[in-house]
């Protein structure tokens, strides 16, 4: 006997993964536009992120929450199903924030590329590559309920934090000797900050997957260890 609410659970998972696919594209477009150094292509990519992807992401965010509320109120989901629904709403919120961060990156990229001689901070593409892989794997872990893959993402957050610190120091050194680079430096710092926050959200998704699969709440453990 297959209960009909299982179909609704699958539909909820499908919407989260659909939202995840859109967010992955938004992140990729926002970073790619900077690397291409083409203001026209960057403007197009930014338009796609802001005008098309972001509204769809927001709509899916609302739909996911409504589906979750329906399942909680009408189907009285329990145990693994309850953890799944809880994880789905948390992941929806993380994805929505990641989409906002992508919009920020796209806007900063345009700002940089409008400069007649844009510089490219070499660590940013590497950092972006790591962040995109974390996002991809966190969603794959959710889709396949893969606890091991989810746990493997947690360690990579530190790597991204280190990139952020290196980028910051590199830019500080740069503006110390060349003050006209200040505006670009600020844009790059904001981009690295947004990438680092996207990685944090990917880590949150991984933690939600561990909670969903194993019932273990591992949030804030890494932060506690780092501050001690």
């Amino acid at each position: 006997m297959r209960r009909h609410f299982e179909i609704e659970l699958e539909a909820l998972q499908g919407r989260v993964l659909e939202m995840g696919g859109l967010v992955q594209r938004a992140i990729h477009l926002s970073v790619e536009s900077l690397q291409g150094r083409n203001i026209g292509a960057a403007a197009e990519a930014t338009d796609e992120v802001i005008e098309r992807i972001e509204p769809s992401v927001n709509e899916l965010h609302r739909e996911i929450d409504q589906r979750a509320i329906d399942l909680l109120a009408l189907q009285q989901v329990m145990a693994v199903d309850l953890r799944f629904v809880t994880a789905a709403t948390r992941i929806g919120s993380d994805l929505e924030r990641m989409s906002d961060r992508s919009v920020n990156i796209a806007r900063r990229s345009i700002s940089i590329l409008t400069n007649p001689n844009p510089k490219l901070v070499i660590q940013i593409p590497r950092m972006a590559e790591t962040v995109e892989a974390m996002v991809r794997d966190s969603l794959a872990a959710f889709g396949s309920r893969d606890e091991d893959l989810a746990r493997s993402i947690l360690d990579r957050d530190q790597e991204v934090d280190e990139y952020r610190d290196v980028v910051f120091q590199e830019l500080v050194d740069e503006v110390t000797v060349e003050t006209r680079f200040i505006q670009q430096a600020l844009d790059f710092i904001l981009i690295s900050r947004n990438l680092e926050r996207i990685a944090d959200h990917a880590t949150n998704i991984a933690e939600s997957v561990v909670f969903m699969v194993a019932g273990e709440d591992i949030r804030h453990r890494y932060n506690t260890a780092a501050s001690s």
Binding site: M1, R3, H4, I7, D70, A73, L74
Partner: protein
């Protein structure tokens, strides 16, 4: 739409019944049944036992191919209302009804009783198989309407399949119905009711005597049945109403306090009385 009914205000959904957020089919990405018309319209129905007014001026529209649940505390009138829908109360001495009940626009109070009960079937709280074989239980109503031979056997099989019982009984159709478990007997009762192809099926607490697994089976059965039948279920189990229905009506002291989409009733009811009941603060 807001309708005043006696001492209580009845809230009816102003949204179309096929609102895309209303149905589990759409939530699950499945197509909905094509119809959302009112199958059974009740206008200002009151039921009396002697001088006691058990149901008070109830008006409600039961949507075709949907499941409507009626909830409320004991003695609120929900079962009396359900029984009135196929005129079961007429056999109770001193009982009478006032008001109007229309099935596809036809006056149910003027219909020939056998015809009405063929179109509006009833399943009771306690499974009540006849002291006959499984086959003869299902065939009973069909024979009353002239069914015989291979057509009869085919109709019995179809009814048992619709009641999700066929696989469990196909090799023992001529054994006594009393050999079945409680959950199977209740599905047999549903198969018997379905045999005469009712347009509306009324269910009075059909799971209250069943274990959780049997209850889940019946709920899944109801979910499938609404593709071909309009269902009205009385239940004291609010969770069951939430799980199994598209619309919910809340009865209190004989009045219909609120009637709306089940999702609305359980997530954001309009009336404080409904909220108090479904949150366990009353009743």
């Amino acid at each position: 739409m807001v309708v005043h009914t006696g001492d209580h205000q009845m809230i009816m959904s102003a949204r179309p019944a096929l609102d895309s957020r209303a149905t589990p089919e759409i939530l699950a990405g499945k197509p909905t049944a094509p119809s959302a018309v009112v199958k059974l319209a009740v206008n200002k129905l009151s039921c009396f036992y002697g001088t006691n007014k058990a149901v008070r001026d109830v008006s409600i529209g039961i949507h075709e191919y949907r499941t409507t649940a009626l909830i409320g505390p004991s003695g609120c009138g929900k079962s009396t209302f359900l029984r009135a829908l196929n005129r079961m109360n007429e056999v109770v001495p001193g009982a009478r009804v006032e008001g109007e009940m229309l099935l596809d626009g036809q006056d149910m109070l003027q219909m020939e009783l056998t015809n009405l009960r063929r179109r509006v079937g009833m399943v009771f709280q306690k499974a009540n198989p006849f002291p006959k074989s499984i086959f003869d239980n299902v065939a009973y109503g069909l024979r009353l309407h002239g069914g015989k031979g291979s057509h009869l056997a085919s109709a019995v099989e179809q009814s048992l399949q619709r009641a999700a019982l066929w696989d469990e009984v196909k090799d023992k159709l001529h054994r006594s119905a009393f050999e079945l478990s409680g959950g199977q007997q209740q599905r047999l009762s549903i198969a018997r009711a379905l045999a005469v192809s009712p347009e509306v099926l009324l269910l009075d607490e059909p799971c209250s005597a069943l274990d959780p697994i049997s209850t889940a089976r019946i709920e899944e059965l109801l979910y499938d049945l609404k593709n071909t039948c309009t269902l009205v279920i009385v239940t004291h189990n609010m969770q069951q109403a939430a799980r199994a229905s598209d619309y919910t009506g809340y009865f209190l002291m004989g009045s219909l306090v609120e009637f709306d989409e089940t999702r609305k009733m359980f997530e954001n009811p309009s009336r404080q009385e409904t909220e108090d009941y479904i949150t366990g603060r009353f009743g």
